[in-house]
């Protein structure tokens, strides 16, 4: 397809499905027409709700038994011991078990991010852009409330939700810091691990929020990419030798994902992308839009609505020499 034809086709599809043309143009260049249409159709489907059993308060089996009595059907997520696809008759946040902190309503990709980080008891872990606390509480859970989780966010209102979730889930090993994560170098703590689920365009959330079909311009994506690059740079600089970090976004845009990682690998020869020892999602793109990137992009992973029935997500695990 010539560029002119591609633009016209993108325009037609965009009009037909209510997207901004530049978005469809990118999808066509990335995936071709058949997969783009599959993506568009999948974004019209509802994403299955999922919850994480909070093992700081209850074991997964007991939670299953209790929720079954309330006609909630749970199906285990294969690669997550504590994760379940859930079918609720009522709002998932309205049950006693939720108020008691027995579970957290969380997307499967988000739970997977923390599992990929693999926090261990006794470690010091920094969670950047931490609010509202899904990953912070999951990290604390995997560390069995030992060691230290430093949860950083800048927004006062969002920090209130973070603190509320920390309390509800019975987390006792977290420190909440308010401030600019880009100034991480001022924090005189040496973390074992850093999690950066970066603020992003949210282009992967179209199935959850259809307004995103038209709310984000290419300039917004560029703005997000700049911020993601700055945050990742700060995180890389704060990570000690031998440290591990996970970079993730809820965007499907290579400009916010593979491009960012490729840039960081160029600037930091001490950083490398490492394999993720869990079976989920599909591989990241080493040649998005025909642009040659570092071959290790195939070690990164993607969740895509049309392939995995989830919101779109990107996950990359990095280590520092």
């Amino acid at each position: 397809m010539s560029n002119k034809q591609l633009r016209q086709r993108a325009k037609d599809l965009a009009k037909q499905h209510g997207y901004l043309p530049y978005m469809i143009e990118r999808y066509l260049a990335l995936w071709g027409e058949e997969e783009t249409i599959q993506f568009i159709e999948a974004c019209e489907e509802q994403i299955t709700t999922s919850i994480r059993a909070n093992t700081l308060k209850i074991d997964a089996e007991s939670l299953q038994t209790r929720l079954q009595l309330k006609r909630v059907t749970l199906k285990p997520v294969e690669w997550l011991d504590e994760g379940f696809w859930a079918d609720f008759d009522v709002s998932p946040g309205s049950l006693f078990e939720y108020m008691l902190g027995y579970y957290y309503v969380q997307g499967v990709p988000s739970m997977t991010v923390t599992k990929v980080l693999d926090p261990r008891p006794g470690e010091t872990v920094i969670d950047l852009a931490a609010a509202p606390g899904g990953k912070t509480t999951h990290i604390a859970q995997l560390m069995d409330n030992t060691g230290t989780v430093i949860a950083i966010d800048e927004d006062r209102q969002r920090i209130k939700s973070l603190e509320s979730n920390i309390q509800r889930c019975g987390v006792s090993n977290a420190i909440i810091l308010r401030g600019d994560a880009k100034k991480l170098d001022k924090l005189e703590r040496t973390p074992d691990k850093i999690l950066l689920d970066s603020p992003c365009s949210g282009e992967g959330l179209i199935p959850l929020d259809p307004s995103r079909k038209t709310s984000t311009s290419m300039a917004d994506i560029r703005f997000c990419a700049t911020r993601e690059d700055e945050l990742l740079e700060a995180a890389v600089n704060a990570l000690p030798s031998g440290g591990t970090m996970v970079y993730a976004t809820c965007s499907i845009a290579p400009e916010e994902n593979e491009y960012i990682i490729d840039e960081i690998l160029h600037r930091h020869s001490e950083m490398s992308v490492v394999p993720i020892p869990l079976e989920f999602g599909s591989l990241g793109y080493p040649r998005p839009y025909g642009v040659e990137l570092n071959e290790s992009m195939t070690l990164t992973r993607r969740f895509l609505p049309h392939l995995h029935g989830t919101e779109g997500f990107f996950i990359c695990k990095l280590e520092k020499e």
Partner: protein, 179 residues
């Protein structure tokens, strides 16, 4: 806002009050191997229990960042009244017999901010006095919140079904309401 170790005199006053309300030695058991620290925000002073090894790092963590909270939130001191946090009620419930057990219907109602009527009460010890703060539990012993008794425990049997027994001070429904 910067965290500081709690002044020993202030801590003694607070723990005396808690021990008097919830039982001798409760404060010491709650503290365990942790240290109490406070963060002041205007008229409110929040108390947290933190691992001893964090104390040395508190100064460093301030650089460029503001510590919003840390460890277990114990509660807030405001106008000389100490409000226990929801987070501390779980550990506290394991240490005290100052509890009020409510029925399933009472539990539902309580978590919608409502107070507790006689008809919802399953268990209340006779020795508890009016004004006493009690931890509210459901039949399974799960913590629902905190209430202040509006009647002496030994007068419960004489009350009509629709009379108030415990005034809701805080409940886990706050996690949904964002209170």
């Amino acid at each position: 806002m910067k965290p500081e170790l709690v002044d020993p005199v202030e801590w003694n006053e607070l723990t005396d009050q808690l021990d008097e309300e919830f039982g001798e030695g409760v404060s010491k058991a709650l503290l365990g191997e942790r240290a109490p620290v406070t963060i002041s925000r205007g008229d409110i002073k929040s108390f947290y229990l933190v691992p001893m090894e964090w104390i040395a790092n508190l100064e460093e963590e301030r650089k460029g960042f503001e510590i919003h909270s840390l460890g277990i939130r114990m509660g807030d001191l405001t106008k000389e009244r100490f409000r226990l946090s929801l987070q501390i009620l779980g550990p506290l419930a394991e240490l005290t017999d100052r509890v009020l057990v409510v029925s399933r219907q009472g539990a539902e109602s309580f978590t919608y901010s409502r107070s507790i009527l006689k008809e919802s009460v399953i268990k209340l010890d006779a020795h508890l006095k009016r004004g006493q703060r009690v931890i509210v539990l459901n039949k399974d012993g799960e913590v629902l919140g905190l209430a202040a008794l509006s009647v002496d425990g030994n007068k419960l049997k004489r009350l009509a079904r629709n009379r108030l027994v415990g005034k809701n001070l805080v409940d886990i429904g706050a996690y949904l309401r964002g209170a």
